[in-house]
């Protein structure tokens, strides 16, 4: 009995499917070209062909980008993480306090100055990972919505950041610590982490299970995936990435402040969604998120480049976030409807 399981005729079977990342890339190009054109028109110079600008375009978003790598994985599991910005704040304060130079008379721990740089790095990874694990454990084992679990962590971690030194900023790190975020290092760190997690999502069991959980948690469970353990791992990784972002940010700024990283979580989520990561879970990639991140970078630099009044920038940014996602959704629908 030879049977064809596809009964409807289709004439698009052999056509290669354009990956969603391609759309985001085209969007990025379009936005950059608009700025290029407006640049020649109004400012009389090129937007894109300026090495300094290209550097800052990537540099200014790469720290949020590091967070967005973790947020991408969380969203792929069907969750959300509102706590990353606050974790950055808390982790930066705590890690920096173990990285202070003895040159500074008012160090948080006067007895613990000039520590090797590995100490604050480990501290940041542990604090970030711990905060993330708490998120994950709450979500996996108590079954409360990720929105609420991470909202609670957002409030609590910001509280920790403010409490740690009673609002006093922590500064004067050792030179080795200050080196972490110097120059283009944040970009390099972002690229390495992005590559790592791109590979992990695409080619490892970890990635397969992450997509499976976001796609159909019930199916993942009956297929024998340890869903709870995996969720804790994904949130812990997101927390650790926020911890790394805290390291890079506080090092780049040579200071840590309790208010650091405020609202970064929303930018990171927006980057991921603009990059094609579905809030419903199961779909998206680190490459897409990186492209979404570049869109952010181009927009911010473009605004300054065109000397757009700061008062209008937020309005325009809000519109662009929405427009980017509307365009993506529309493209997907068109493809589904009319190919």
């Amino acid at each position: 009995m030879a049977v064809s399981a596809v009964s409807a005729r289709t004439d698009s079977q052999s056509r290669p499917v354009r990956p969603p990342e391609m759309n985001v890339f085209i969007g990025l190009l379009v936005i950059a070209l608009v700025f290029e054109a407006l640049g020649w028109l109004f400012i009389g110079q090129s937007f894109v062909f300026n090495l300094q600008r290209l550097q800052i375009i990537i540099l200014q978003v790469s720290i949020v980008g590091i967070i967005a790598i973790g947020v991408t994985q969380v969203i792929i599991t069907g969750g959300i993480d509102l706590s990353s910005g606050s974790i950055v704040g808390a982790t930066a304060m705590i890690a920096m306090s173990f990285a202070q130079s003895s040159d500074y008379a008012r160090a948080v721990y006067p007895a613990l100055t000039d520590l090797p740089v590995i100490v604050p790095i480990l501290v940041a990874l542990v604090i970030g990972g711990l905060a993330g694990s708490i998120n994950g454990a709450l979500i996996a084992y108590t079954k409360i919505p990720p929105f609420i679990a991470t909202l609670g962590m957002m409030v609590a971690a910001r509280g920790v950041a403010k409490w740690y030194t009673k609002g006093q900023p922590v500064s004067f790190p050792t030179e080795s610590y200050a080196w972490i975020g110097a120059g283009l290092n944040p970009v390099i760190i972002f690229l390495v982490l992005a590559l790592l997690f791109h590979l992990a999502l695409k080619y490892t069991v970890y990635g397969n299970h992450t997509y499976a959980i976001g796609s159909n948690q019930q199916a993942a469970r009956v297929s024998g995936i340890r869903v709870e353990r995996h969720l804790v791992m994904v949130y812990a990784i997101a927390g650790m990435l926020a911890g790394i972002a805290a390291l890079v940010l506080s090092s780049k700024n040579v200071t840590a402040q309790a208010g650091m990283g405020m609202m970064y979580e929303l930018d990171a989520i927006a980057m991921a969604v603009i990059g094609g990561v579905s809030l419903a879970g199961g779909r998206g990639s680190v490459v897409g998120t990186a492209l979404g991140m570049l869109i952010f970078g181009v927009i911010i630099s473009g605004f300054t480049f065109l000397r757009i009044d700061a008062y209008y920038q937020e309005m325009i940014k809000g519109v662009i976030i929405v427009a980017a996602v509307v365009a993506d959704v529309a493209r997907q629908q068109r493809r589904a409807k009319a190919v």
Binding site: Q52, Q60, G167, N253
Partner: protein, 293 residues
Amino acid sequence: ENVGVSMALFDDNFLTVLRNGMTDYAATLDGVNVQVEDAGNDVGKQLDQVKNFIASGVDAIVVNPVDTSATQAISDAAAAANVPLVYVNREPVNVDTLPDSQAYVASNDIESGTLQTKEVCRLLKEAGKTEANILVIMGELSNQAAVVRTKDIHDVIATDECSFMKIVDEQTSNWQRDQAANLMTNWLSSGVQFDAVIANNDESAVGAIQSMKAAGVGMEDVVVAGIDATQDALAAMAAGDLDVTVFQDAAGQGQGALDAALKLAKGEAVEQKVYIPFQLVTPDNMQDFMAKN
């Protein structure tokens, strides 16, 4: 000339006056273009804004630092690109090692809390108090101005002549009038006895006043102090509700900073530290400040 300005945040009354002082002044000058950016209280964003300015080829940069301990990175970036830089309003850590092409225009935040608390101390003594309970309303806990001003209060109280003052509780209103009002009502409902309220900013002081009046507290028996000398605060002072505030010449700072930036852009030498002092405002001299902020 094109001057890039990075402000710590836009939705702060005082900084708005400073910013407007700068842009209004620029409008009176020929060929001066000021581009103001909002750092949204984010240190990292501010550094990026400076770099974006450099990439866009501005002639000078004015920075109102989000975090005064983070200025070394900003100074280095500007110096490397040979763009003149002026800090305004908040003193950078590296103020003593600024390169020749950089300057600093401000008032000293430590003065504000000190002036404010000393005046409260004086008023309480004048009223013949030998023991005085103080409530402190702090600004946002992650903000340095709040931290410094609160510390000033403690420092003044630690001196001998003001040691009769005692802080009974210290809570935050996040600079917000509404939260300060709720905070005061909560205090009142707990039956806390107090002789003075010292707030880190005028908005919070005004919020506290609103609640006290709503609860029928006699405003002549309580000393209320804020900082900023905003329009609302001066109106409250005129009504006899607010007793002390502190004026910081925001517009003057903005103007001074722009002047310094333009001079540096032209290669002229400027004074590296320009201090514009705080001024204590009381009902006696408030008329002088009516039209200023």
